[in-house]
Amino acid sequence: MSTTTDSILTAAPIDWHSQASAARRRKRYAQERNLRLAGLVAITIALGLLAILVGSLILNGYRAFTQTMIALDVYVDPEVVDRNDPTAGNWRQIYDDAIDRALPDETDAERRSINALVTNNARFLIRDRVVRDPSLVGETVRMNVPVSDPFDQLSKGLVQRATPEGQRRVSDLDIQVFDRLVAEGRISRPFNWGLFFNSDSRFPELAGLAGAIVGSFFALVVCFLLSFPLGVGAAVYLEEFAPKNRWTDFIEVNINNLAAVPSIVFGLLGLAVFLGWFGMPRSAPFVGGMVLALMTLPTMIIVTRNALKAVPPSIREAALGVGASRHEMVVHHVLPLAMPGILTGTIIGLAQALGETAPLLLIGMNAFITSPPGGLFEPATALPTQIFIWADSPERGFVSRTAAGILVLLGFLIVMNAIAIFLRQRLERKW
């Protein structure tokens, strides 16, 4: 100590104005500038890529948020449909009458055009409406029915009229019929509620995300109910009660490794164990939730342990100091103080689970299912797998629906993360 002090004091005084000293300082400033510049470039690139991603999704997807509809005047003839048993009625005839009214005096060719224009399922849509409300029998109702995909594309300007007839999916006559209906004010393009309230369908104009949203919701509930208590319990034991020895070190290393295991491995595990050994049903949200819980569990344990670690030791000592048992210390003081952190981590873990696709594919949650699941064991899809299915479908209308599905999924993720951030800021405690 004393020798270094001596050497500095006896050395020649430092010349802060020398060339060498100035150059050295310039170099240090330049290093700082370069580092800052590199950071700026990195952030710009990252934000740019994000903007491209979201931008292309919106460009592709915004059209799916509206749907072209045709207004049909449906006369529910009491002679064709029995008020007491509307399901059994001759709905094809009712539908044909409605078409006649929409396009009076049509030729056979025009008739074929308008049949192609109205969605295939139109007569079932009419039937379902009347079954829901049998008082409509004997009345004339104006109903908005979706227009089939090629005409939806035409209405949205995705089919160029200048294209030679042979190269587009609608003929010149189709366009004439369409324009005539537009002129009569029968064509409208309202917000596409079907995207949220319909389930999957072979016809893009009828396909929606309801089944996937319900399926994802069920799977997440199962995932939460399994992974939250297990994860918090494991973390509390490891952090507060377990002795620190080779075994707990081993367990800790393995938990950290599990958090890094690719999710498809958990899917394979679920396929082999839950479906193979336990014989659980395919495509069920319950199984999906269990697989997602396996995947979320390590994350859950890690965030809970970090939240517990963040509670200062002085609080533990204070509790023990007045004679609280370890259990009372944990339950009365440490856990409540760690809860905001645990909840935040839980939401982020669940958001990850919501976006997870691979394990769900393996347990069959990518099936073609046309109604929302009524329970945890009924077949269902999930949001990411529904997007996967649509992305695989050839119809033009599924392109924009895929992008729209991704936007909906992103919307859910943003909401969940926003809740997490809100909770963190609201409940975070400064020590």
Partner: protein, 280 residues
């Protein structure tokens, strides 16, 4: 700087003699806490060497010594707070009223209720002032009814000379009080479970001089009913408040005796150097 070399570096210095200068106690009351050959280890490192010490009841005993001398370690082994540290191990015997504190059949929860503790940094629970004080009596089941509990809380806060300042805002957060008030709240929390001994680990080191003086006054009052052991870095504080002083150095109890004697006529050269401010 013309610092003379430290008499004993913890690592390289000459081995201090283990012979403690002992003086007969001139207190009328018997020993409340008695340590016999206490050694404490943190893993392989020994932090305390063979300490023998009697702590008289209804008096304030001060532990002084430079940082790392083992005084806090010794204090924390009295209510077995060292148990919570991984790898901490203890040899020897500590008696509370003649009973072995480290008896495996002893209930640590009861021990810590009988031997309360106040920490260096005020550490109120992030709950209301009322809840801070009521927590101990509640878990130990002292209060049969809400009025009982209210009475205990009031008595404890009065005992800690805090009642008049907080009686109108018992629902406010304990963490919202000033540092000195927080420390008195912690004292109130400690005395709420009616301990026999109160351990204070540098209770004034995070407080300003005025708050320190209040806590010191409070200690003087508490001495009537409690046996108090205080670890302090401030020799003035030890001289002011304590009746008995024990000087620790690198894990050894060097000297103990009535406070006045330790500060005026220390028997050991190291004690003399320390209390006169030559090192430490």
């Amino acid at each position: 700087m013309s610092i003379q070399p430290l008499p004993a570096e913890p690592v390289s210095g000459p081995e201090p003699s283990t012979a403690t200068v002992r003086r007969p106690l001139d207190f009328e009351a018997g020993a409340k806490v008695a340590a016999k050959g206490v050694s404490v280890f943190y893993g392989a490192k020994q932090a305390l060497f063979d300490v023998d010490l009697d702590v008289p009841s209804n008096a304030i005993t001060a532990f002084i010594g430079p940082s790392g001398c083992g005084k806090s370690t010794f204090l924390r082994s009295i209510n077995r707070m060292n148990d919570t540290i991984d790898g901490a191990r203890m040899e020897g015997r500590i008696e509370l009223d003649g009973g072995d504190v480290y008896d495996p059949s002893l209930d640590v929860v009861e021990l810590r209720a009988r031997v309360g503790m106040v920490f260096q940094k005020p550490n109120p629970f992030p709950k209301s002032i009322y809840e801070n004080v009521a927590y101990g009596p509640r878990i130990h089941g002292f209060a049969r009814s809400k009025p009982d509990l209210d009475a205990i809380v009031e008595r404890s806060l009065r005992g800690a000379a805090l009642w008049d300042e907080v009686k109108d805002r018992l629902d406010e957060m304990g963490t919202g009080l000033s540092g000195g008030q927080q420390q008195r709240l912690c004292i109130a929390r400690a005395i709420a479970v009616s301990p026999e001994v109160i351990l204070m680990d540098e209770p004034c080191s995070a407080l300003d001089p005025i708050a320190s003086a209040r806590v010191e006054d409070l200690m003087g009052e508490l001495r009537e009913n409690y046996t108090i052991i205080i670890v302090t870095h401030s020799m003035q504080q030890a001289a002011r408040v304590s009746q008995k002083t024990a000087f620790f150095h690198v894990g050894y109890l060097v000297e103990e005796g009535p406070t006045q004697q330790i500060f005026t006529t220390p028997q050991d050269k190291r004690t003399q150097d320390y209390v006169t401010g030559r090192f430490g």
